[in-house]
Amino acid sequence: MMQQKSFIRTLVLLTVLGLALSMAPKADSLPTGINGFSEKGCTCHGAVPDPGVTPSIEGLPANFNASTTYTLTISFTGGPSGTSAAPENLGGFNLAVDSGTLANIGEDVQIWGSNEAGHTELGNDQTSWNVDWTSPASGSATFTLATNSVNGDGGASPDDKWNMMSMTVQGPSAGAAAEELQSADPFVVLITLIIVSGILLASVILYTFYRVSPDGFNWDSFSPWIVEWLTSTDHKKVGTLYFIAGFFFLGVGGVMALLIRIQLAVPGNDFLTQDQYNSFFTMHGTTMIFLAAMPLINGFANWLIPLQIGAHDLALPRINAMSFWLQPFAALLIFTGVFSGQAADVGWTGYAPYIVSETAHTGTTLWAAGQIMLVASSTLTGINFLATICGMRAPGMGWMQMPLFTWSIFIANLMLFLSIPAWGVGLIQVYLDRTIGTAFYHVASGGDPLLWSHLFWYFGHPEVYVVILPAFGVISEVLATSARRSVFGYRSMVYAMAGIGIVAFIVYGHHMFTSGMSPTLRFVTMLTTMLVAVPTGIKIFNWLKTMHRGSLVYRTHTLWALGFLVTFTLGGISGMFFPSLAMDTHLHETYFVVAHFHYVFVGGTVFGVFCGIYYWFPKMSGRMMDEKLGLLHFLTGFISFNGIFWPMHKLGVLGMARRHHTWFITTDDFANIPAEMASWNLFITVSAFLFFFSNFIMVANMIKTVVAGEKAPADPWGGWSFEWMCSSPPPTPSFDPHNPPVLRDANEHIASEPTRFGQWFESLMMPEDDEKEVSH
C-alpha cells in the first residue's frame, strides 16, 4: 500500500516537472523591455498599458517566405481616440522587429536603424499606418508593437491610453527543416495501424505459445506447434483460426470506420480526399462483411456444428481447411490496393460501369480477384456444412430435433452457396473486363450495367440474410438457455428461417428501385420485400414469448441477446421503410440507409457474435469469462453503438447523402442541411471512438480468460444440446466416430403416424436397413 502511494506521488511529481519543462521555453519568450518604447518616437501618453486598447498588425502571413516584402498595416482600436471632435492627434505607434528590414511607404512613418518604426508628426492624426517589411532569408521574426490611443486634446493627458502586443512569425529556416507540417496520408495511417495490429497479433500468438508451454519456448517446440495450426483439419482448430482472422479484420475495418468518422466529424473536412474516401468506404464494407462477419460466423459454425449434431468432425475436413486458407490470401489480394495507395474505390457493391472503367483505381482488379477467391471459399464451406448437417447427425436426431443454431447455419449455407455463383460469375466477368478486355460492362459496346446489379444483388440480398441468420440461431440458443426453458415455437422458428431463406431470392430488386430496372420487377419485389417482415416478426415474438414466464438469468450473453432484440427490431422497423417504392425513392442514398443496415449488421450480426462469444467461450477455452468486464463491455458497447447509429436516421431524413466525402451546412433549397447536423455528426464520431475502444474490453477479457480464467465446467449455463455434453474444451475428435452419441427424445414413446408428405418422402430415401446394401 505504502509502495503504491509513493509510486503515485512520484508520478505526480514527474508530471508536474514535465509540464514545467514543456512550459519553460514559452516563459523565456515573454516580451520584455517595455521601457524602451518611451525613448523614441512615441512619448507614450499614459502610465500603464491599458487593456482597452487593442493594437494589431495585418498583412503578415502565418509563415513568411524568404526575402519577400510584405506591406503591414498597423492599427489599433479602443481607447479615447476619436472622442474629440477634431480629427487630429489621434494616436501613435512604435514597431520593433528583431530580424528583417522595415521601410516606410509614406511620410507618416519614420524608420530608425531599419528595425524600428514609428509615426511622424504627419502620422499623428491617424489610427492606422502602413509600413513595408522585407523578411529575412530564414528563421523567425518577432514583432513588438506599442500603440497609443490619444484623446486629441494636443497634449499628454491622463485620459490617453496605450497598449502593446507581440507576435512571432515563422519563416523558412536554413535548409528545409522548418517546412510546414504535412498532414498524414490516411492510407499511411491505415497501413501503419494494420501493421501494428499484425505485430500485436503475432505477439499475442507468441505469448499464447509461451503460456501453453513456458519451458518449451524455443524453435524446436515452436515449429511443430505452428505447423499443427497451419495444417490442421480439425474443425475446432480451423474454427479458432477463423475467429482470429475475423477479429483481426473486425479491428481493421473498425479503424477504417474511425478514419471515415474523423473525416465526417466536421463540415467541409479534408482529412480524406474524395478519392481516399471512396477507397475507405469500399474497403470498410468489403472488410466488414467478407473478412470479418463471415469468418466470425464460420468460426462459430466450425466449432459448434459437429458438436451440436454429435459428429466427430465435418464431412470434408481438408476441404474445410481449404476454405479457411483461401481467406487470408484473398484478404492479401483485396488489400494490395491499400498498400499501393490505389485501393478499390467502387463501393462494396462495385457498381458497373464504373468498376470496369479506367478511372476506377487499379486496386479494383485485385479486389475482384480476392473476392473470386472468397467465392470459392464460400462455395466449399457451403458444400461442407450442407453435407455435414444432412449426413452426419447423431442417431435419433431428426431434422426437427436439431438445435436452432444448426438450423440457422444450414439455411444460411444453403442460401449462400446457391446464390454466390451468380456473384462469382459477375466478378469473373469484371476481372476479365479489367484484364483481358472483354466487354460485359462496357456501355459503349452495348454492355448492360444493370446486369452487374442483378448478378450482385441476386447474391447480395441472400448474403445479408446469410450474415444475420446465424445470429438468430445464437440468440435462440442463448435466450432459451437463459430463460431456462425450451425455445417457444421451435417449429415456427424453423419454418420462419426457411421462409426467410426462400423469400431472400425474390426480394433483391428492392436494392435497385432507383436504377431504372424493369418496372414490373420493381413492383413484384416491392410486394415480396414486405413479406420478409412476417417470418422475422414471428421470430421476434417467439423470442419474447420464450422469455415470458421464463426465469431469466442475467449473464453477459443474456444482456447481449436482449440488446440484440432491441437493436435488431429497430433495424427491422427502419427496414420496413424501404420496400415502399415511393418512400425508397426519397430515402435512397441517405444516411437513413446507413443507419438501417448498421442496425441490422452491427446490432444484429455483431451483437449476435458477441453474445455467442460470451456464451460459448467457456466451452471453447475451458475457462469462464469475467462477468464484470462483460457487463462493462455491454454497457459501453450498447450505449455507444446507439450513439453512433440512432442520430443517423435523423441525418438521413434531413437529407445527408451517404457515400459523399464531406457535407456542408447550407440553407440551399434543395440541400437544406441545418446547423444542428454539425453537432450530431461530431457526436456520432465521438460515439464511434467509444464503440471501437469498448470492444477492446472484450479482447482483454478473452486474453485474461485464456491466461488466468477460472476452470469451466462442461455445462456452465445449463444448455441442453450436445456440445454441453462434451468436456470443456472438447476432445479431438469431438465424439468417438465409432460410437456416436444418441439423442433420445422425451416424446419418443408417442409414436405418431407419419404424415402423407412424410410417407412420400420416406419412399424416396434409401432403405433404412444397412444390410440391404444397394447396388454395387
Partner: protein, 109 residues
C-alpha cells in the same frame, strides 16, 4: 450401377448410341434451311431428351436405390434457376409505361 437393361442390352451402351444419333440429327438440322423457329424447336426438342438421358442413365438418377432422393436433390435448385432466368435473363430496363395497364394509375397515358 445399373440393374436394368434397355431392350435387353446394356443401358450404358444403348444410351451412348442414342446420344450419338440425337447429336447427329441436331447437327444435321442446322445444316438444312428450316427457318429460325423450326430450327430452334428442333434444337430444344433434342437437347431435352439428351439432357435427361445423360442425367438418368450416366449419372444414375434412374434405377438405383438412391436415385429418387438424388433426383430430388438435383431438382432442388430448379426454383432458384427459374428465378434467376426470369429476373436476370428475361427483364430489361424499361420505363414506367411498360407496366401492365392494371397497375398504372388511370390518368397515366
Amino acid at each position: 450401377m445399373a440393374h436394368y437393361t434397355i431392350f435387353g442390352k446394356d443401358p450404358y451402351w444403348m444410351n451412348f448410341w442414342g446420344l450419338m444419333i440425337l447429336t447427329a440429327i441436331e447437327v444435321a438440322a442446322v445444316g438444312v434451311e428450316l427457318g429460325d423457329t423450326i430450327t430452334m424447336s428442333i434444337l430444344v426438342g433434342i437437347a431435352i431428351p439428351k439432357f435427361i438421358m445423360i442425367a438418368a442413365i450416366f449419372m444414375h438418377l434412374y434405377g438405383d436405390a438412391d436415385s429418387k432422393i438424388l433426383t430430388m436433390t438435383a431438382l432442388f435448385p430448379a426454383f432458384f434457376i427459374i428465378v434467376m432466368v426470369f429476373f436476370i435473363g428475361l427483364t430489361s430496363p424499361g420505363a414506367a409505361t411498360e407496366l401492365p395497364a392494371w397497375c398504372r394509375p388511370s390518368y397515366w397515358t
